[in-house]
Symmetry: C2
Subunit: 372 residues, 2 copies
DNA sequence: CCACCGGCCTAGAGCGCTCTAGAATACTCT
DNA sequence: AGAGTATTCTAGAGCGCTCTAGGCCGGTGG
């Protein structure tokens, strides 16, 4: 017998102080739930097998739910597993299986749209038997770092939601594993893209505004944010297509409320259009707020449209009209695509373009003077 | 010789691969970065060992940066590793090491405060040689599920940021591994808590308002949200302490802007106080917005204070006065505590209480009639 | 000369799991 | 009956890594 003991001491080492703070933490109702609390480490397949009197392999079969065990044994093993509080060790599992069934996701923690998509990814991945590991991109944690973490976890595939990694790095990543970029076109030929057509979205928005009778429509863009360039270009194109007067009016904006607020000031100063289409909802809310503050009635004098249908605009009292991108659908499509890539099939088109939908609330109406 | 010392060298073990990843992980322009792309799977220790003509163990030693290899070999092995694009397999590593050096974090994706803390956790953990794995709590993904995922990853410790798991579950969890709950008192005796004192924060806020001359101060609470009960109670206590007239006025609110907006309506209907202290910034922004919409000047007629110092209130044009909780500090304290727990030491006090700070902006001022 | 170092390195046994072979038993089918 | 075919189960070889024990060196000191 080797000397395993050297391993053990670590875990139980904190036990001693628990009692010190509480007399006797016997709050566990069913003592059966922790039948082997003594052994510092969690129960393994081996433990379950021993207790159930079967082989490790059989337990593995039962736990994984694959065929190969009789109903009776299955029940018995499951019973023992539960009794011991057994939970498979993901790491070992992945190691042994040779594949991880892990989908890595990079995202920005503070973007509501990302949260929405992430939730969708969890749901979609789990229903395909995949797990999800999140890696956050923050101010101090560069996208590159987030991606490396994903690699260290040996993800089989990745979904990139965060601010883009550099083209070069993305291309390298995509050569190692299937990658789907959500929400923005990618310049790396090896990566798949699932996104909602910005051209369609902007088109829908302009159709709506023009349909209401607006002719003087400005766009507050997203600066260098994801998709901003596309939306800006689409705005210009739609502006032309609808035969609106003059040059398309595009103001420098950004992805935050403050950007919208600044643009509102600018608009008031330079002359109000009858409608404003913002880069995203936060930006639109900034416009809304500043207009409100400065006494410009919305939609009385100016109509405002957002983009993304994020929670900030959904608030009933704000009633922001917007263009909705179905985050859950994006997510599930992205996952599907990854799964089929992993299965070896190569989708015909690298880019999947979804159609957005209009969400009309109270921030848009006919222009002040009524329909011309 | 027993075994203890063998464990120590671990700490520096992250150092070695930090350099390896920082210098040129990203934009390897040299084709040498993909010398064996053909092999399909990523290179292993074995591959590096073979190529370098040494044993697996030696490579392991070098990669981990522990003593036991000559400088010459070290350089050579490092060279080969880089050439092959070797990255250690986290799963195998942790499996073999018997410990994961993983800190699990549950959080809500849509809470700006959580993002802030998460960022701090990343920073703090990485500087201690720990990795972080995030598990999101969403509408469809219950806290319990998030925690289970963490367990499956065999985290050594957990930080709970999300909506609370049930007392019972928390207690059980905390008995299995060190747990720190951030931001709210916990009723599970086994879990540590790191939080900012709500009593102090509310105290600071009331001191400020009373100092300005306010006497009629209402509180819009957070309903059943984290910390809401504490803040409510603190408000009542401070109200008494300052000898303010009448019963403390507490309105039912919630954690969202819509809750604040609803409360604003209510306040206008029932009679305005001279100042309102909201449960959090989002709620305060809702108040701000609705007051603005309904023509109640802030801070002209009513002063409004938030709590949390989240980005929504920071916007210059909103200028929300608030109480700041230092997320990064909370994070780093939580990590420190976890690390020392893992090292076997038991901190004297289970709860670490920080002091909040006042952030004064433009939403608070002397009451309408001036100082009484 | 033989211990007896200490520095560098390797062999080999796991970590907890999956998976391929194949053994053992039970159930057809001619 | 004997062969064929399931069905249920087990042995054992890894997955990529860490870590203990020990081997092999050249250099000291008795």
């Amino acid at each position: 017998m080797p000397k395993a003991p050297s391993r053990l001491p670590k875990a139980p080492s904190r036990l001693p102080d628990a009692p010190s703070s509480t007399p006797k933490p016997s709050s566990l109702p069913k003592p059966s739930s922790l039948p082997k609390p003594s052994s510092g480490r969690p129960p393994t397949l081996e433990d379950v097998a021993a207790r159930a009197g079967v082989s490790r392999a059989l337990v593995s079969i039962v736990i994984r739910g694959v065929p190969g065990a009789s109903e009776a044994t299955r029940q018995r093993v499951l019973g023992v597993a539960e009794e011991l509080g057994y939970r498979p060790d993901g790491r070992a599992r992945l190691l042994a299986a040779g594949r991880s069934r892990l989908i890595g996701v990079t995202l920005a923690l503070d973007d509501p749209f990302h949260s929405d998509v992430a939730e969708g990814i969890y749901a979609a991945a789990e229903s395909c038997g995949y797990q999800v590991v999140l890696s956050a991109v923050t101010e101090r944690r560069r996208p590159q770092r987030a991606v490396e973490t994903l690699l260290d976890y040996r993800c089989e595939a990745a979904i990139l939601l965060g601010p883009l990694v550099a083209r070069q790095a993305l291309q390298e990543l995509a050569q190692r594993l299937p990658v789907v970029v959500i929400g923005q076109p990618s310049n790396a030929p090896a990566a798949d893209v699932v996104r909602v057509s910005d051209a369609d979205g902007i088109g829908l928005a302009l159709d709506h505004l023009v349909g209401l009778g607006h002719r003087l429509i400005a766009h507050v863009d997203g600066g260098r944010s994801a998709g901003a360039a596309q939306r800006r270009a689409a705005f210009r194109a739609e502006h032309r297509r609808h035969g609106l007067p003059g040059q398309p009016r595009v103001l420098a904006g950004g992805p935050g409320e403050e950007d919208g607020a600044a643009a509102a000031r600018q608009l008031i100063e330079d002359g109000l259009p009858s409608a404003v289409l913002a880069y995203n909802d936060a930006c639109a809310v900034g416009l809304l707020d500043m207009f409100l503050r400065l006494g410009v009635p919305v939609p009385g004098q100016v109509s405002v449209m957002g983009y993304d249908d994020s929670p900030v605009g959904r608030l009933s009292y704000r009633g922001l009209s917007t263009v909705s991108q179905d985050g859950h659908q994006l997510a599930s499509l992205a996952v599907q695509r990854l799964v089929s890539r992993l299965a070896g099939s190569a989708p015909a088109n690298r880019e999947l373009l979804l159609r957005p939908a209009l969400v009309l609330r109270a921030s848009t109406a006919e222009p002040a003077g009524g329909r011309p």
